[in-house]
């Protein structure tokens, strides 16, 4: 019985099929909202699915002078990392499929795996756009990662646990968005940085470096990276809603909250101009990290008092 439950959790819900499909739907909603805000029509609902199917069906071109093993394996590692994170996340407000003390830290690192793999994938090729894109992706990783981590650990400190499930239960009665507003903002904007959404899209700024680190990717590899990003979007939003907007809850209520966050993200994407990579780094270290640390200091003082 345990084995059947494990397989279901891995392949159907919350991991596997469900989250891949959810990722595509979230991606569609994001694209549609941005398009409507920009006075465009936007894609139809099945566009991300169609894109993925098309990419999977296409030939994967292996460029000269890459290490073939890494070229093929890196997208898989990225997707595996994102899917592993799903298992410890309270998807649609339900209990996480698996849980152990300290799973928050593991989850956050699993989420970083995607960016790391994109960076390495870019560095693996000899394409100059990819190399510049990879440098930028990794630079950006170091910029937002620490503030993002600190922002997610804020609720953990308040809840006194490093286990996502326990924090989620604690958050049911404590809406951290009110007690830790800075952490909430930094986490939300950090997620945009993680997903390389505008204004943090300089690692894939098309007007400068074409498609950034993924310029050489086509077919299956590109499709898997995109699926990975979709999954990460779902996991990221779920974590933020769980931690800051009332923890585990009725799936419908939880879903509405997640969509709300997505709308905020879409609005930010339309409003802001792309930041240069040095500006991104400056923003995170000068403001993001310092503000979160300040909030931590307040938290710890309150906690002790």
């Amino acid at each position: 019985m345990e084995a059947v439950k494990d397989i279901l959790a891995l392949l159907v819900f919350p991991g596997g099929l469900f989250v891949v499909f959810a990722g595509m739907m979230y991606e569609w909603l994001d694209r549609k909202l941005v398009a409507r805000l920009q006075n465009r029509i936007g894609p139809r609902w099945f566009q991300p699915i169609a894109d993925t199917v098309k990419l999977l069906a296409k030939e994967e071109v292996l460029p000269e002078s890459v290490t073939p093993f890494f070229f093929v394996v890196l997208p898989l590692i990225a997707l595996a990392g994102a899917l592993t994170a799903v298992l410890y996340t309270p998807m649609v407000g339900l209990e996480p499929a698996y849980s152990f003390p300290g799973d928050l830290i593991v989850t956050v690192y699993m989420l970083s795996l995607l960016t790391l793999c994109i960076g390495l994938a870019g560095a693996n090729t000899r394409n100059r756009f990819s190399l510049v894109g990879a440098t930028r992706a990794l630079t950006q990783l170091f910029a937002y990662e620490a503030p993002f981590l600190l922002a997610l650990f804020g609720p953990a400190i308040a809840a006194g646990s490093w286990q996502i499930g326990e924090i989620a239960h604690y958050a049911e009665s404590h809406w951290f968005i009110f007690t830790q507003p800075i952490g909430f903002l930094v986490a939300l904007i950090g997620l945009m940085g993680k997903l390389e959404l505008p204004p943090f899209d300089s690692p894939e700024a098309e007007t400068e470096i074409v498609a950034g680190a993924l310029t050489e990717y086509s077919g299956r590899g590109l499709a898997i990276f995109r699926i990975g990003k979709g999954v990460e979007l779902v996991v990221g939003l779920t974590l933020i809603v769980t931690f800051y907007l009332g923890g585990v809850a009725n799936p419908i209520v939880f879903f509405v909250k997640t969509i709300g966050m997505l709308v905020v993200m879409a609005a930010l994407q339309t409003l802001l101009t792309r930041l240069r990579i040095d500006q991104t780094v400056g923003l995170w270290w000068r403001y993001g990290a310092l503000l979160v640390l300040l909030q931590w200091a307040v938290l710890i003082v309150v906690q002790i008092a």
Partner: protein
């Protein structure tokens, strides 16, 4: 064609980022190579000619009237500028003068073209900065002026407004009303865009202090048009050399002194207000009379002349030499982009790679304009040849199949 640079990070070797011939930042083909040290550009070179069509040479085997339509196709954005400069030159050589009403209509089209060109540029500039919302909105509003041009001339691009010795069409009362309404809408939107580019903090981070060209540099590099005016160099042919045309109507010089990208944005937007004002003034004081001179000779007197017109991007320079026959001896076209291109190569050095596309676009480059002279048609394999009628029918049927959208 591409220089092969070893993509290593060793200090001794240059790391070159190629931009073009095909690149998302370029709306037309050109090839730039930027040597970078990390994110900082250390050297820049350019190779043009990917849309070289042999127009200068082509003019020498066509008659004076045919050349008008050939030269108009140098550029799809400022096609009227080229026709305008050409007819000015030929009229000077033939010693005829276009009637006042024709001159007024030429100016209306020229200013409408400037409006459409600046809106187009605003969108492209915003896109390079990664501000796609502004791009989408400005191009939506640009449709207004495209519709006005279509209602006047029948074409969205390549208007063919000029003929030798006059213009092809008249502006009637209804069209005047349409233009004035369109301008009111555009003026409202332009105020909004001026606010955005002057106040949006993140956008200013990408434009203020970027690609600064001092007044001294601007003079030395010989830049023209809005690029020069953004650096405080008062250079506008509508004022400097009004000729018979802009003599009749007063134009104000739009100057900014900062010389950075922000100033180039502001200059062009303020240029728009000036264009609106000029168009309104011309329309309310439209002279009566003929549209074309009574007699325009087929053979143009031998001689040479220079005619210059302020294109949306700056000075367009025409040198025309006639040998007294039906065909010109030599026509030389120097478009504003060629003048301004040198500034790109100079200004990008020392800047961030991320700012390069913006600096490049900051001069509003137009490669088609640049690339004219000589190309020989290549034999084209198995290509099917359609008549114009076939193409037209295919287009109509295609869209009917798509549900008439």
């Amino acid at each position: 064609m591409m220089t092969v640079a070893a993509p290593t990070t060793q200090k001794s070797e240059k790391f070159i980022v190629p931009i073009g011939p095909q690149h998302p930042a370029l709306k037309e083909p050109g090839h730039f190579e930027f040597a970078v040290d990390g994110e900082i550009v250390t050297d820049a070179t350019v190779r043009l000619g990917y849309v070289h069509r042999g127009i200068e040479k082509g003019t020498e085997s066509r008659n004076w009237a045919q050349n008008l339509y050939l030269l108009e196709r140098i550029c799809g954005i400022c096609s009227h500028t080229h026709a305008f400069a050409y007819v000015l030159g030929v009229e000077q050589l033939a010693e005829v003068e276009a009637p006042p009403r024709a001159r007024a209509i030429r100016m209306v089209v020229a200013e409408l073209e400037r409006v459409h060109s600046h809106f187009l540029w605003l969108g492209v500039g915003a896109h390079e900065a990664g501000f796609d919302t502004l791009f989408m909105y400005s191009w939506r509003d640009r449709e207004t002026v495209m519709d006005l041009l279509e209602s006047l001339t029948g074409n969205r691009v390549n208007y063919s407004a000029c003929v030798l010795g006059g213009v092809k069409f008249d502006i009637n009362g209804e069209q005047t009303k349409g233009i004035l309404e369109g301008l009111d809408f555009l003026e409202k939107r332009t105020h909004h865009y001026l606010n955005v580019i002057q106040q949006d903090a993140l956008f200013l981070q990408r434009t203020r202090g970027v690609g600064v060209m001092t007044q001294q540099q601007a003079r030395q590099l010989g830049v023209v048009g809005p690029t020069a005016r953004a650096s405080g160099v008062a250079r506008d042919l509508r004022i400097d050399a009004p000729g018979q045309h802009y003599n009749d109507f007063n134009v104000n010089m739009i100057l900014e002194t900062d010389g950075d990208l922000a100033a180039r944005f502001v200059v062009r937007i303020r240029d728009l207000f000036e264009s609106y004002r000029i168009i309104r003034e011309i329309l309310s004081n439209m002279p009566e009379g003929d549209l074309v001179v009574k007699r325009m000779p087929r053979k143009i007197k031998a001689g040479e002349t220079i005619s210059r017109v302020e294109a949306p991007r700056g000075e367009a320079f025409y040198y025309i030499k006639s040998n007294g026959s039906e065909m010109p001896e030599r026509i030389k076209v120097r478009t504003p982009t060629l003048c301004n291109m040198a500034s790109v190569l100079t200004l990008t050095v020392g800047q961030h790679l991320a700012d390069v596309p913006m600096i490049l676009v900051g001069i509003d480059p137009c490669f088609s304009c640049n690339d004219r002279s000589v190309t020989v048609t290549q034999p084209s394999g198995q290509r099917e040849h359609w008549t114009w009628e076939q193409v037209r029918r295919f287009g109509i049927e295609y869209y009917q199949r798509q549900g008439g959208q």
